[in-house]
């Protein structure tokens, strides 16, 4: 599998892309939606290489930690600082997002409470099993790649009658913000790179509307450098043919129909709801919440929390515009100055997939 990172392969793909982009009219602006794509593109130095080949990649709202509003983070912080004997479990990057009340990492827990960084929702379940005397709240933020595993954790908790486990949900769907972005007409892009692992769950038909209603092509991409370039080339090909559509360029992992088992589980445990996104605002039917049957595992309900997103960012932070692909991180005045990885002003500088952190870490300035 080394070919996926081999420089001769990359060079060959770039030559092809260069020829295509020249005919299409450079620079061709494409948007990658997934934060892990942004990371791959910058980590391997592909952004400047693509620019040189006539393709400008803009990053979109694909970082679940970045688009989770302040209110959710503050709810989590409130739980661990004000409730005794409570374990707040979360993925690592979410614990470092700064809010007007500090971050989860810097919060001072109430007596016998703590923040636990977990790799999987299963770790949080295990903590709940091992410590029946503590409340364990899993602050679960994710897109459709992660949501099935969060749903499964809740279902298992229900099956095992675990009274001390609950979920603070920040669950987001990928297709609705694409529609919101395209409707806003803020971004001028000519095609999309669709997230490979999200699509492995939801299937390729989820993006048909982009082609059918907005006339834009897109390709599902994997996460190796060659995968990104194969997908870019595929989108350019459609642009040249004037044929919007969705191509699957990650066929070794993505089946057209997605993963029916994972989707069935999501369907069983969760239902679609309206949601407010950081930076993008209100998007109808773009989030998920626990179904009535599982309401007992909803942490906001259990602890009487109001999680209402209001105006979120710390002053000067343009994370919202970065998430919408309107500006690239260096265009924000705070970038690299008062907003740096060690002193972040917004979530885009905290999450390993946040565009600002990725740019700062990986781009040769």
């Amino acid at each position: 599998m080394k070919e996926f990172r081999d420089r001769r392969v990359i060079a060959g793909l770039l030559r092809k892309i260069s020829r295509q982009a020249r005919r299409a009219g450079p620079p061709v602006r494409l948007m990658e939606v997934c934060g892990t794509h942004t990371m791959t593109i910058h980590r391997y130095g592909l952004h400047p290489l693509l620019l040189g080949a006539g393709v400008e990649m803009m990053s979109g709202p694909g970082c679940p930690v970045c688009i989770t509003p302040d209110a959710h983070h503050r709810a989590a912080i409130g739980l661990v600082t004000r409730r005794e004997n409570l374990v707040l479990a979360a993925f690592g990057d979410i614990t470092r997002v700064p809010t007007t009340e500090g971050s989860l990492q810097t919060a001072v827990p109430a007596p016998r409470s703590r923040v636990q960084v977990v790799y999987s929702p299963q770790d949080a379940l295990e903590t709940a099993r091992r410590k029946p005397e503590s409340e364990v709240v899993f602050f679960g933020a994710g897109f459709e790649t992660t949501i099935p595993s969060i749903a499964l954790a809740v279902k298992q908790a229900a099956g095992q009658n675990l009274k001390n486990f609950s979920l603070l949900p920040a669950l987001w769907l990928i297709p609705p913000p694409l529609r919101a972005l395209l409707d806003s007409k803020e971004v001028r892009i000519q095609g999309f790179l669709y997230p490979g692992h999200v699509t492995a769950v939801i299937g390729t038909a989820a993006y048909d509307f982009v082609a059918a209603e907005y006339g834009l092509p897109g390709a599902v991409a994997g996460f190796e450098p060659a995968d990104i370039l194969l997908a870019v080339s595929s989108v350019l090909d459609r642009i040249l043919r004037g044929e919007p559509g969705v191509d699957n360029e990650y066929r070794r992992v993505v089946r057209e129909g997605g993963n029916p088992r994972a989707r069935a589980l999501m369907e069983e445990v969760l239902e679609v709801t309206d949601a407010v996104w950081r930076g993008l605002g209100f998007i109808p039917r773009s989030g998920l919440r626990l179904r009535k049957r599982f309401q007992g595992f909803d942490a906001p309900g259990r602890f009487g929390l109001k999680v209402e997103a209001a105006s979120d960012e710390l002053p000067g932070c343009r994370c919202g515009e970065v998430l919408r692909g309107v500006i690239s991180p260096p265009e924000c005045r705070l970038f690299g100055r008062t907003c740096r990885p060690e002193a972040p002003r917004g979530p885009c500088m905290v999450s390993p997939e946040g565009s600002c952190l990725v740019y700062h870490k990986y781009s040769k300035q």
Binding site: R7, A11, G45, G102, Y119, K361, Y362
Partner: protein
Amino acid sequence: MSARPKSEARSAKRTRPPGAAQAPADPGGRISLELGSGGRLMREFLRTHILGSFRSPLLRNLPDAAHLPRETALTTDGYVVDPIFFPGGDIGSLCVNGTVNDLVVSGAVPEHLSVSMILEEGLPEKDLARVLASIARAAAGAGVQVATGDTKVVRRGQADKLFIVTSGVGRVVARPETRRIRPGDAVIVTGTLGEHSLAVLLARGDFNLRSAVKSDCAPLGFLLPLWKQGVLWMRDVTRGGLATNLCELAEKLPYSILVEEERIPLSRPVRGACELLGIDPLYLACEGRAVMVVPEKKAGAVLHALVRHPQGRKAAVIGRIERKAGRPGELLLATQAGGLRKLEPLTSELLPRIC
């Protein structure tokens, strides 16, 4: 002091915009975990608080070991690793080798150590015995004597099992000469990277991972003869990993440093665990590996000497000092895929209490 120097003259020229030297991340004016990470925040803290409080000229460049009068070198270190026992080592072998290595890379033959221990009430005696035996074994292996020490006990909960503070004294036999570094000079690492950090991280049991990774904790005394073979600069690759340590060298030079991703030696288990956990091995601390700069003409002989030694079998030339790539003071990575990117020093702690 096991700290990373930042040349102040150079930093005055290459300033970030005003307001960039901020207080530590925690707005409450308290010590944050980031300060111990070995990254940018820690260095700013050192400049403000340490250099601001102590006036000795010996401290000015925040060296790993101070070269005192009469060819004596002195270093000190604190050890708070969690857990205290891990595959490939423990806090005992760590405190000896870490101290010894600070002396070796500053050009001194390690001779004596002091070991000061802070014990938590309730620590099992057999654990303490195991650590002490480990210290004794490591000291013998490194050819140093534990000459003096101290023990304190604090109440349960006021220390986490066991903390150790050491100092080490050695005899100066060489001095790093960063001023003689020139474009074309080779950057060499003495072995595979990242093993110590990963071994400690996995030993915490937070992840449901099983791996064969063992800490690389070991004494670097075998590198001492290389000073006479022309080595210009050496650093043990601890906190902040290869990238942070090379960034700090780069900042002192009127050149850039270019490292080739493909040449960096990484063992298969480290590669695997890092990809799984989403960790960048270039920022992982080792405790038995060094990175060095050697004049172009002498690199072949130095590498040859390294690979012939059991501890240096995987040594490799990973890059060079550059004049034409990037800007002076930068550390650049030529990626596997043929791209080029700038490496920044570690900013906030990836993994707390690794050493």
